[in-house]
Amino acid sequence: EPEVTQTPSHQVTQMGQEVILRCVPISNHLYFYWYRQILGQKVEFLVSFYNNEISEKSEIFDDQFSVERPDGSNFTLKIRSTKLEDSAMYFCASSRQGSGQPQHFGDGTRLSIL
């Protein structure tokens, strides 16, 4: 069964450094998302991406964050200057359509900021 894959599974970075998290969504899906989950808290939405542009972003997704789909298969999340509070699990998800369609998640990247 097709699945969303994310790399790396764990990233350790010094505060202030840039980090790029990578995702390969399911191949025939058109909508892409990033979520994060701080330890012990809810899964929370960061950004959605469709037709090569951001369609929705949360208040968490400030100027330090950016997303890109550099080719037909990869979808990346960049954090320009990491802060301690960026430590979390970051999940990529994709869906075939937007509204009303289930989103399928990868197993996440655990980001640890030192």
């Binding site: 969303v4 994310q6 909508y31 998302y33 979520y35 808290q41 809810k42 899964v43 929370e44 939405f45 959605s48 369609s55 929705e56 949360s58 999940f91 998800a93 869906s95 937007g98 509204s99 009303g100 369609q101 289930p102 989103q103 399928h104 998640f105 990868g106 197993d107 996440g108 655990r110």
Partner: protein, 110 residues
């Protein structure tokens, strides 16, 4: 504001002891309610979509039902491998983002 609330927070069951999890939601114009299973250190794994009140979906020992204000996930004769955190999520009323509940952590003892 759209909200999703799950109860209980944790559920400890003996193998074979059936139980139910609750997800209540407040969102105008429901466009689907999704149940996911999350194992420790993993991403949410999609289980079911429910679209309208009265709808039911089943998968092995799990059955999800939906009313106008809440959804239930029934676990019948659970096994230890059913131990996980079960999440429900709804799309927000005016866009595609999912709002997740905090989850119910189910532990099934042999």
């Amino acid at each position: 504001e759209d909200q999703v609330t799950q109860s209980p927070e944790a559920l400890r069951l003996q193998e074979g002891e059936s139980s139910s999890l609750n997800c209540s939601y407040t969102v105008s114009g429901l466009r689907g309610l999704f149940w996911y299973r999350q194992d420790p250190g993993k991403g949410p794994e999609f289980l079911f979509t429910l679209y309208s009140a009265g709808e039911e979906k089943e998968k092995e020992r799990l059955k999800a039902t939906l009313t106008k204000k809440e959804s239930f996930l029934h676990i019948t004769a659970p096994k230890p491998e059913d131990s996980a955190t079960y999440l429900c999520a709804v799309p927000r009323s005016n866009d595609y983002k999912l709002s997740f509940g905090a989850g119910t952590t189910v532990t099934v003892r042999a």
